[in-house]
């Protein structure tokens, strides 16, 4: 008990007000500066769709979108992300209507256990925006090209920050391919 009390006192001493905007909702929180955005989402806001895999930036399971750009939430201190628009897997569906990528992951069997899936889908959304802005990847040839195709090689390179321990990569690439081809013909 004593230790719990001292932990609570310690936490109260360091915690500060943190306002986060997540999936269009404003959350007034009190967080220690050391709390990551990942832990803030899961443990303080209750949005457990974003997953904690390695907690060291190696797996991509915690990928969320901030102002439309993909980041790994385990490397983000929540206090740094005030005033930004954070989107998690819970913010993608429109009511009961799934986001096209969510539907495509089901149709293409882009997962087995599903643990990496929220990160894969958020990452894919950010990745597609990067591609549409004409941003190159390590495999884009020539580097200065203004127009290039989203080849399978490009998809794999651009998604290399998201690991799938079940090895559902074939289904994941197929799901991305299918949704992207609908938006931008190859």
């Amino acid at each position: 008990m004593r230790e719990t009390d001292s932990n609570a006192a310690d936490s109260a001493r360091w915690a500060m007000p943190v306002v986060l905007h997540i999936n269009g909702v404003k959350y007034d929180l009190r967080l220690e500066p050391r709390v990551s955005l990942l832990d803030a989402l899961r443990e303080y806001v209750g949005l457990t769709g974003t997953k904690k895999g390695c907690n060291q930036g190696a797996c991509g399971a915690c990928t969320v979108l901030v102002d439309g750009e993909r980041i790994t939430a385990c490397f983000a201190l929540a206090v740094q992300y005030q005033g930004r628009e954070i989107t998690t897997i819970e913010g993608l569906a429109d009511g009961d209507s799934l986001h096209p990528l969510q539907a495509a992951f089901i149709a293409s069997e882009g997962f087995q256990c599903g643990y990496c899936t929220p990160g894969q889908i958020c990452s894919a959304i950010g990745m597609f925006e990067e591609f549409k802005r004409g941003e190159p990847s390590a495999v884009t040839e020539p580097l200065a090209a203004t127009e290039f195709a989203l080849s399978e090689e490009e998809i794999k390179e651009r998604m290399s920050g998201n690991l799938c321990r079940c090895g559902a990569y074939v289904g994941i690439v197929e799901a991305l391919r299918e949704v992207f081809d609908r938006e931008v013909p190859r």
Partner: protein, 331 residues
């Protein structure tokens, strides 16, 4: 992770004052290395000064043809920048071959320069590491040292600097602009990081309280013809075993300008000055490239698990120069 205080600086003066006021404070950029080090209790600051709101996030063309890159420019934005892709492709390539899309969106230019080694023994609190605990010893010397240095190492430390971006910046003769309470100064990229010697706990020549504000890349017309090649244990999202940044200018079969730098081989981005001396003025062919690589790697020293990197570095240098030559050797 220990507790720490957090302060967000809205301007550079405030950031410098905050860091000066606290005994044990650190600047926080994108967090992609520092947050990891905090979590592992390798870095234990009492206060973090968040500099991501400072007005150093622009990429500007300089008079005379160079480019100024603000310290807060994100790695992904830098790599995608049109001027960088056209004038310094080696820099875009280097950044794009590092980390992942998510991490490049977070990581800043200044933070990339300040990132610390990924030596396993530096990260492992149970291991002996002179960089983490000066005087403790080095478990990498007799340990699994596949990723470790072959050039410029010491008996105190064989860690490597993990950045790809810095290797390209070293080849391009970039200058780092820093500000402290005493004013502004410039440090050449090739002199910014240091070799371990017997004080591997000190990574750079940055002084306490100083903040990187920008990186200047000078005009270098022949860098339009430049290349970064990274050799690693998997095709993407891995640190370099060896990497090579190079630019080559050839006129009538003779090399008139050459830039060469190596990554993954030393405690700092390794500008291959010895090889450049062999290259410039010589005939542009594979014999010259091999002689240049051999000269640069003559002082290289391998350890139990990384001796292969000496041969690998030589072959990668030759292959990159061959690619540049085949592509024309001129802008």
């Amino acid at each position: 992770m220990r507790q720490f205080a957090y302060a967000r600086a809205e301007n550079t003066e405030t950031a410098l004052q905050l860091i000066a006021r606290h005994q044990n404070a650190k600047f926080l950029g994108g967090g992609t290395n520092l947050v990891d080090l905090l979590r592992e209790n390798i870095e234990q600051p009492d206060c973090l000064v968040d500099v991501t709101g400072l007005p150093h996030a622009a990429i500007e063309a300089l008079l005379g043809g160079g480019i100024r890159i603000g310290a807060l420019v994100r790695n992904s934005h830098l790599a995608a920048n049109r001027m960088i892709r056209e004038r310094y492709p080696v820099l875009s390539q280097a950044i794009l071959q590092g980390a992942s899309g998510q991490i490049r969106n977070m990581a800043t230019t200044g933070g990339n320069i300040m990132q610390r080694t990924r030596c396993y023994y530096f990260y492992d609190g149970e291991a002996r590491c002179n960089k983490r605990v000066p005087g403790a010893g080095c478990d990498a010397l007799e340990g699994f040292n596949r990723m470790h240095a072959i050039l410029g190492a010491s008996d105190a430390c064989i860690a490597t600097h993990p950045s790809d971006m810095c290797v390209a910046l070293a080849a391009l003769d970039a200058t780092i602009r820093v500000r402290g309470m005493g004013g502004e100064r410039e440090i050449p990229m090739v002199e910014f990081h240091r070799l371990p010697e017997d004080t591997p706990q000190i990574d750079t020549h940055l002084q306490p309280g100083e903040l990187i504000t920008a990186v200047d890349v000078p005009a270098l017309p022949f860098a339009r013809h430049s290349l970064y090649r990274k050799v690693r244990d998997r095709a993407s999202y891995a640190f370099a075993l060896v990497s090579v940044a190079a630019a080559l200018e050839v006129e009538d079969g003779t090399i008139v300008n050459a830039r060469l730098a190596l990554g993954g081989v030393a405690h700092k981005p390794w500008r291959a000055v010895t090889a450049e001396h062999v290259l410039v003025g010589a005939t542009a062919n594979i014999e010259t490239f091999k002689a240049a690589a051999a000269a640069e790697l003559k002082p290289a020293r391998g350890y139990k698990h990384n001796a292969f990197k000496i041969e690998l570095a030589g072959r990668t240098i030759v292959s990159v120069l061959q690619s540049l030559l085949a592509a024309g050797g001129a802008p």
